[in-house]
């Protein structure tokens, strides 16, 4: 299958949530090498709340696990919406070789590409209804492995923004009252996601969290106003020149795009 067909499986026209699916990995998917599914790629998500309980999921899981968990959630009636938003490679090639890309990129996205490819037929066969609630898929490795990147590496770290998700109003209008955040070995959400969740919370969406291995039942939680919640204020300051804006992009204040 080519990227167009694969994208259509992951973002079918009939789902209202498909508009948010990120295309960047699908742009590269034809060049991705075949990657055999990991032996333990099956994720048990049978504990999820029923798909008609007005819940949306955010699966913030490392690498391919997010995709596999998304397909497992699809088996429970949720529509996986891939929000992977990073360029996998600094070069386009007919075939992206696993050793080459893995060696140069700070965030290795080939496992995610492979999982999207490998599980697409399984997802297509589920024939999810158009009103299936969303399960937004994020790569919890998106910030990279540390604060710094090796000088010669391809710096493909990424962050998610509120504009990468539907608004609370849209969610409420489409019957979503609650968001369940599912992570592995984290309690607090990553800072960029926390900002998104805070916006939803402000808009009247209740938040819950759980671990992917279901070590405990989902717990309600609130995003308190953290110090970085002033990011918008900082952005405004940056915009008016009171703060250094975007000298290095990542890790600096969120500044505006370079282009006009």
């Amino acid at each position: 299958m080519h990227n167009d067909q694969l994208f259509l499986i992951w973002a079918p026209d009939e789902s209202p949530w498909s508009r948010w699916a990120k295309p960047v990995l699908f742009s590269h998917i034809d060049a991705a090498p075949p990657i055999a599914p990991a032996r333990d790629s099956t994720v048990d998500m049978t504990w999820l709340p029923s798909s008609n309980s007005e819940v949306a999921l955010v699966l913030d899981l490392p690498g391919a696990e997010g995709v596999n968990a998304g397909v497992a959630a699809a088996s429970c009636g949720y529509r996986p919406v891939p929000l992977y938003n990073a360029v996998p490679s600094p070069f386009f090639a007919d075939v992206l070789s696993a050793p080459a890309v893995g060696a140069v990129a700070e965030v290795d996205l080939l496992p995610v590409l492979g999982a999207l490819k490998n599980t697409s037929l399984q997802l297509a066969e589920l024939s999810l209804p158009s009103n299936a609630p969303p399960a937004f898929l994020l790569d919890s490795n998106r910030h990279g492995s540390g604060l710094t990147v090796k000088p010669g590496e391809f710096d493909n770290r990424s962050i998610c923004f509120t504009t990468d998700f539907p608004s609370a109003n849209f969610m409420l209008a489409n019957g979503i009252r609650r968001v369940l955040v599912i992570q592995r070995s984290r309690i607090e959400p990553l800072s960029d996601l926390a900002y998104v969740l805070r916006r939803w919370q402000d808009g009247g969406i209740a938040l819950q969290r759980a671990q992917v291995d279901f070590s405990a039942a989902p717990q309600p939680f609130e995003i308190r106003k953290p110090s970085w919640y002033g990011a918008m204020f900082q952005r405004a300051l940056a915009a008016v020149g009171l703060r250094r804006a975007g000298s290095c992009g990542f890790g600096a204040w969120v500044a505006t795009s370079a282009g006009g």
Partner: protein, 425 residues
């Protein structure tokens, strides 16, 4: 079909006439849902349009904006004249440190621009002039002179849309013109790096698309960040795990003022002066990129008649009553995407307070510009304000990037619309 009836098309036209389609603009009906879905996927997957959705807003219009060929010809001509005037003014200003100091540029960048070292060569020059239909005719709000974007939308998406409207054609193919100019300058087999800041997907997508265009021309194009460029005797080398060696060209989708904030060890000055490897856009582009560029005109020997005709009056904020007079808007000297355009009536009081504070503390980094009254165009989605960004590549008009907005300000949340030309209207 929707058409607008309004006012004078160009300043030279007599006032009060032109009932019906005065700006030569109309829209067609949207294409079918299934057809648009297929087109959208091609734009996303082939054209690297990776931000088709911003919050709840879909950023690709399902219908084209259509412009009469005569109007397009006139706008293209105006853009070419604006381009020539800007380049002449940049050259003069670069010799006048006192004028460079009035542009609101960072000090480090100013220092490099005023140094005696020869300018780093450029493989070509690309600009985009943003035209708006207003009650006074067409007006230009600014030129994107340093790092213009929108190439995929203006080239690939527009060509896809044109396939659905026989009899209409794109205004051009700016990405094609751009990549041919680069390939000619650096050599068909040339190696180049396209630079952007990590984490900025809206910039990565521009570079990824432009890299694909360069590869079509036979060039070897790699994505990188400025810190990965090593300068040896003025020659740029890419120093990465995926390519090490000298470059024939550097394309920066990285604003000049951002470069000037990099640590000195990055030797960023070579992007502007003293380098031998061609760098796009050239150093002097930041002069007309500054929205305070018009404040230097009075002191120039170069005349800028088209700029003076099309750009609203622009002043230092200290010279006009912007706080009490709603006919003024404010923006920063290095405003991108309209993000710092400040109009009191469109802002929260707290944001307006912060803006006032910033302008008072740093007036030299701001400007006040006379507001123009944009004339909305009827579209299938409702009335929309229009911005037609006309590209010039090496001074020749090369196509257009059109956007629609419900608001009078065109910013990152505007909808991209294919601009098609009607040769028979």
């Amino acid at each position: 079909m929707n058409a607008i009836s309004s006012v004078r098309l160009f300043k030279a036209d007599p006032p009060g006439v032109k009932a019906g389609n005065a700006f030569g603009l109309r829209t067609e009906l949207p294409i079918g849902l299934k057809e648009f879905s297929a087109l959208r996927r091609r734009a996303l997957l082939e054209g690297c349009k990776w931000d088709p959705q911003v919050g709840d807003i879909s950023t690709l219009a399902t219908f084209p904006l259509v412009m009469n060929a005569g109007v397009w010809k006139r706008l293209a001509f105006q853009a070419e004249r604006l381009s020539a005037e800007a380049v002449a003014a940049e050259n003069e200003i670069s010799q006048r440190p006192e004028l460079l100091g009035n542009l609101g540029l960072p000090r480090a960048l100013r220092r490099v621009l005023t140094s005696r070292e020869p300018l780093t060569p450029a493989p070509c020059r690309v600009m985009r002039f943003d035209f708006h239909p207003t009650v006074e005719g067409w007006r230009v709000s600014e030129v994107n002179s340093d790092v213009p974007g929108g190439f995929s939308e203006a080239s690939h998406f527009t060509a896809l849309m044109a396939e659905h409207f026989p009899g209409l054609r794109p205004a051009g193919n700016p990405a094609g013109a751009w990549s041919r100019a680069i390939a000619t300058a650096i050599g068909i087999d040339g190696v180049c790096a396209l630079l952007s800041a990590p984490g900025f997907m809206e910039d990565h997508q521009v570079n990824a698309f432009l890299a694909s265009q360069l590869r079509k021309q036979g060039c070897h194009a790699f994505l990188a960040k400025p810190e990965q460029i090593l300068w040896r005797n003025g020659t740029a080398h890419l120093n990465t795990e995926w390519h090490r060696g000298p470059l024939n060209g550097v394309i920066r989708f990285y604003q000049a003022e951002w470069l000037s904030r990099l640590p000195p060890r990055c030797e960023w000055k070579y992007f502007f002066r003293g380098g031998k490897t061609p760098v796009l856009n050239p150093a002097l582009s930041v002069i007309s990129e500054s929205k305070r560029f018009p404040l230097t005109w009075q002191a120039l020997a170069v005349k800028l008649p088209v700029w003076r005709e099309l750009l609203p009056r622009t002043c230092d904020p200290r010279d006009v009553p912007w706080e009490s007079d709603e006919r003024w808007l404010l923006k920063t000297a290095l405003c991108n995407n309209g993000d710092t355009v400040c109009i009191r009536e469109l802002m929260k009081p707290s944001d307006w307070f912060r803006t006032r504070l910033a302008v008072r503390i740093f007036p030299g980094q701001w400007l006040a510009q006379g507001r123009f009254e944009s004339v909305p165009v009827p579209t299938p989605a409702g009335p929309r304000h229009v911005c037609v960004g006309v590209y010039t590549v090496n001074g020749a008009a090369a196509g257009a990037y059109a956007r629609l907005s419900e608001k009078t300000v065109i910013d990152f949340s505007a909808t991209d619309v294919a601009l098609l030309i009607d040769d028979h209207a």
